[in-house]
């Protein structure tokens, strides 16, 4: 015997999320039925669909947006610098420092031999054209200082180094961690310490 079918199906749905194991999925599903405010559950249900419908990567840079262009791409005061990041969370962290005023290009992924992710699988196809169209004068590659992040930086540097100045974010970052978890001061130091690739 296990739970009623609808409950088992809910557990299975939660289990599809990365980092949600069987025990956590069971706990979440039981909370839906026994602990949660029914209105909160209905909100989650509709917010899932609403987010799917309304939010998508900016067609220019990859930042998640509910508009055609994201808030950065619509901001004419941004400098001609372009920061390349692995994901949206990293962009939020960089923006929070208030020290960077350029544009972004979000890869939404990273080149990874181990996971079989190649250059064509991440948001790189439009990069060269974009740099030309927008008159970008400087690229700062801020992929994470991990094996995959470094390989991706190396690949992008090779792609761009003949056309403009390419920088790597400064090594104020402790190796092996993620930008998302770095504190603001570390991020500011890293920005100051950018170096030519």
């Amino acid at each position: 015997m296990k739970y009623p079918k609808a409950l088992e199906e809910l557990i299975a749905s939660f289990k599809k999320f990365p980092g949600i194991g069987p025990k956590t999925a069971e706990r979440l599903a039981l909370h839906v039925l026994l602990g949660a405010d029914q209105e909160d559950v209905k909100s989650l249900s509709s917010n899932l669909l609403k987010a799917l419908e309304e939010v998508h990567p900016c067609k220019n840079c990859g930042i998640l947006t509910d508009q055609d262009l994201c808030f950065v791409c619509k901001d004419y005061t941004r400098t001609k610098q372009l920061m390349i990041l692995e994901n949206n969370k990293d962009m939020i962290s960089i923006e929070a420092t208030g020290q960077y005023h350029g544009r972004y290009h979000i890869l939404n992924g990273v080149i990874s031999a181990l996971n079989g992710v190649g250059p064509d699988d991440i948001n790189l196809g439009s990069l060269k054209q974009r740099i030309k169209d927008e008159g970008i004068t400087e690229v700062i590659i801020s992929t994470n200082p991990t094996l995959d992040g470094e390989m991706t930086a190396y690949y992008i540097n090779n792609l761009l180094k003949d056309e403009l100045e390419v920088y790597r974010i400064g090594y104020g970052l402790p190796a092996g961690t993620n930008i998302e978890y770095a504190n603001e001061t570390t991020l500011i130091k890293a920005l100051e310490g950018k170096r030519k690739m």
Copy 2:
């Protein structure tokens, strides 16, 4: 700046779950938009509503069911024993042993002075009447051996002890562990619960 509104709302919805902090909520919400199969997200959305609609505690015993009475309450072969448990997960664990053939009464909670949960806040109202109606001859209180679980067991024992045999589930050493690592309370309880070989 933060994320688009629909994404922020989805993060907020995830954050309402116990054990889901801001970072995890953000990770789950971003997965919905950037990693997940859209069909899986739609399934989660509809499974949440379906579970709310179809699944509820059995009106007799508190076991989650999509019927009027749960699989145990409909089972006429069950003995006249009644095991009192804190929650549905504990029932699943007891059933998995295959060694208990009685009925259940699920409290869906536990009396807790610290959390302001009183006897009226858990599934106790119908207990005495149920014992009479079903001709229960023996009650086994299997709340958890925690402060709140013990208090709840003590309260229920006082409620029922004049009417029938009330047992507490056995205490002692968990199988497969070492005495060296058991805490004092466990060892004292194990000594109290010694039995003839």
